[in-house]
Symmetry: C2
Subunit: 447 residues, 2 copies
């Protein structure tokens, strides 16, 4: 039986995967391109906080660190919308007890690495850039970026968990006929900015919410951090009238923020400095197939299905990959000839679905959250769902709080719900009778 | 002014491009991965003959070898359909004088290489595998497969003309943020077979036609070669009831051909030998963007837009790339800052269009050519077009015989025509009144 596993990438998914595999007796070697973030005063890559929701919690529970993480996670119970005129409104994400959690990517990753190394059977090798994977012989080579030395690895099973631009995937792709591959960039980029804490670490905006400044074709969002900071992210087209291309000078940036985000500007004392210091990054969706090769190698996490961040599901989906895989190891009693085919058959439609849902949610966040008609629709759905919880689970709830519902099912069910709601919202005078029995029974007949 | 050009790939497109550029005074180095096919008893890669049509002829005319090639090209005036019961029917491709030409890929490529090397300013380096392109510094490196030596190249302009699996494209892609990339395989593969000549080099099938055995989900085709051979290609699903997967034994292959292509079997004495000797190859479509980088590097031909072969436009489209580029060099007076942006803006929609048309034509060839309703539609269109040549050019004629009409225009116009024809074909009793004035005026009002 194969008991040696190589994982490329010690990110969130690679680290969690190593823990689950080592608990089943596998000896794991992880090769990570970057240096050990635990030893550095690090900025943790581009996106410093993430929204953890139920699918992600399942992964952390399996690893046994859910409680640890919960202590440093900030629940966000809904969207706090900031209109251009300075007015704000709160839109709950679900029921009162339902929240997504703002967590530090670095904190989770470090804890997962610590735990992985405590397994005894896991070794993480840092500063190791993947050069090549020799598929038939299960040999891979890595270059140590500190001393230039080439390290050779030979293994029984190999996972590429090295993100959207996976070197492992590329190596397998080039050795595989009929590899379906699609990478697509949306025309918006993003830039991280900051709202520092107030005196004594106080939060300058409502702490327990995800803040959105929806402006139609673009938006800014802000997520709380434990020290009182908010990490702001501006999502903006690269080109066009309102775009990064037209924000080249301090004057342009100041004027743009003053006009678009007037309530945020006073809270962002380092805005200009941050804007020109921080990179403008792009947003990619990667879809590919197969995810497994020769029943010995597999893609997992972003390497298999990189998605845009607008549903807050990137990490959650990657952790769910690990959970599903772990369940399949159990089900197939470590027979990888059974595990791998089922893993990719099961997860591919879900990866595709969350990719599409994430793209769609960008439109919802930047545009629809400011639309009274959309807000009314959400109220009608929430009311109906509260009364008939077996008949109607809102799409956001299915994706975020319902790990037992597959992403692909949520996508299909969400489309069916939207068809019904389109008809409901078209009814004359819906604004006045949205909470009437008439509407309720209309929905019931359409279901 | 930049006068040094590097081209990766000495295939059909790379060779033609080198000739056009050298005629404008550029010094060209071509690096070709394979050995010099002129020195070998070669099988010329996978597909040994091609259908040359008007867009391709324009390229050969520009290079000045159209007349040479015409002497060894076999005109095909239509499709010769072979039904399962052994009956056959001829479907003309256009007017009586309109033909596509069966040519040998090897012959054209060799003549283009000869001509390129006669330019004095063109050097072709064989056995050179592209390892890396350093975009910012316009340096590339190649490994000589004969002696293992690494060759370094530095240039002013670089073209990747190295086909569907372009190493040049991969190198640029990995250095480019926001590179749109999609590769898609259809679920059919192909295998080449042969119908040898009869006594004294006679043709065993009608010489001046493209032969098709349409069988719904699959088909065989045959193109004539000057020596009396026909190159047959079987296009068949990889998996499923009738598939390559189910043709594993000699018995299976014999039974399949006897049942599906009874009239061809007696003409194929080496069928079984060829079937198990020749590879089963896959069919990829590649779409990507941008096609140019830094106004110094560009993709051209299959490297920019690999398409499936069913419209016979792969080479023709690649040659048209060269013609368009040559015209833009003229128009912009060698200002590459003007040439490259217009090249990709102009050609990308046409590359996408012919890719989609080629996929659609597979369905037409394998399925519709056997459908009486489809044949009737083509007759109605031909009749109408003959009477109103300014109002209706059939789609096949636009793509194949009308280089002044862009592929993207043909695609749009073809869709509009299909909408009209769908309504015409739905008319009760269309079989009996297809050539009536009623039908003619109905089409006229819908146009």
């Amino acid at each position: 039986m194969s008991k040696n596993v190589t994982i490329i990438g010690a990110g969130l998914v690679g680290s969690l995967l190593s823990i689950l595999l080592s608990k089943r007796g596998y000896k794991v070697n992880i090769y990570e391109r970057r240096s050990d973030m635990r030893k550095e005063n690090m900025s943790a890559g581009k996106s410093i906080n993430l929204a953890l929701s139920d699918r992600g919690w399942r992964g952390l529970q399996k690893a046994g660190i859910a409680e640890d993480i919960k202590k440093i996670a900030i629940p966000m119970y809904g969207r706090h919308i900031h209109h251009k005129d300075g007015s704000t409104v709160f839109q709950p994400y679900g029921r009162e007890d339902q929240a997504i959690y703002s967590v530090s990517r670095g904190d989770i990753n470090k804890k997962l690495m610590d735990l992985a190394e405590h397994q005894n059977k896991v070794n993480i090798h840092f500063n190791m850039r993947c050069l090549h994977v020799d598929r038939p012989n299960m040999k891979s080579s890595f270059e140590n970026s500190e001393n230039g030395k080439i390290v050779h690895d030979e293994t029984d099973l190999l996972f590429a968990a090295d993100g959207a631009f996976s070197a492992g995937r590329l190596a397998m792709q080039l050795q595989n006929d009929r590899f379906e591959y699609n990478q697509h960039y949306i025309d918006c980029g993003y830039k991280e900015l900051i709202i520092p804490p107030g005196e004594g670490g106080s939060f300058k905006l409502e702490k327990n919410a995800l803040h959105i400044w929806p402006r139609g074709s673009f938006m800014m969002i802000a997520l709380p951090n434990p020290d009182g900071n908010f990490t702001c992210t501006l999502f903006l087209p690269f080109e066009g009238e309102k775009s990064f291309l037209n924000l080249q000078t301090k004057e342009q940036v100041s004027a743009f923020f003053a006009s678009e985000f007037p309530d945020a500007v006073p809270l962002m004392p380092t805005l200009l400095e941050d804007f020109f210091k921080n990179p403008t990054s792009s947003l990619v969706t990667v879809k590919c197939f197969p995810w497994t090769f020769d029943n010995k190698l597999a893609l997992i996490g972003d390497a298999a299905h990189a998605i845009v961040p607008f549903y807050g599901q990137g990490m959650n989906c990657g952790f769910e990959d690990c959970v599903v895989l772990d369940e399949l190891i159990e089900k197939h009693k470590e027979n990888w000839t059974g595990i791998f085919p089922e893993y990719q058959t099961l997860r591919k439609p879900d990866g595709d679905a969350i990719a599409d849902l994430a793209i769609a949610n960008f439109v919802e966040m930047r545009d629809k959250t400011a639309d009274p008609k959309f807000i009314l629709q959400k109220k009608i759905e929430a009311r109906f769902s509260a009364k008939y919880p077996d008949k109607w689970i809102p799409l956001y709830t299915m994706v975020t709080y319902s790990p037992h519902i597959r992403y692909s099912t949520a996508l299909k069910e969400g489309a069916r719900q939207q068809e019904i709601m389109d008809k409901i919202m078209d009814l004359p005078g819906i604004e006045n009778k949205w909470d009437s029995e008439e509407i309720e029974s209309k929905i019931l007949t359409m279901l």
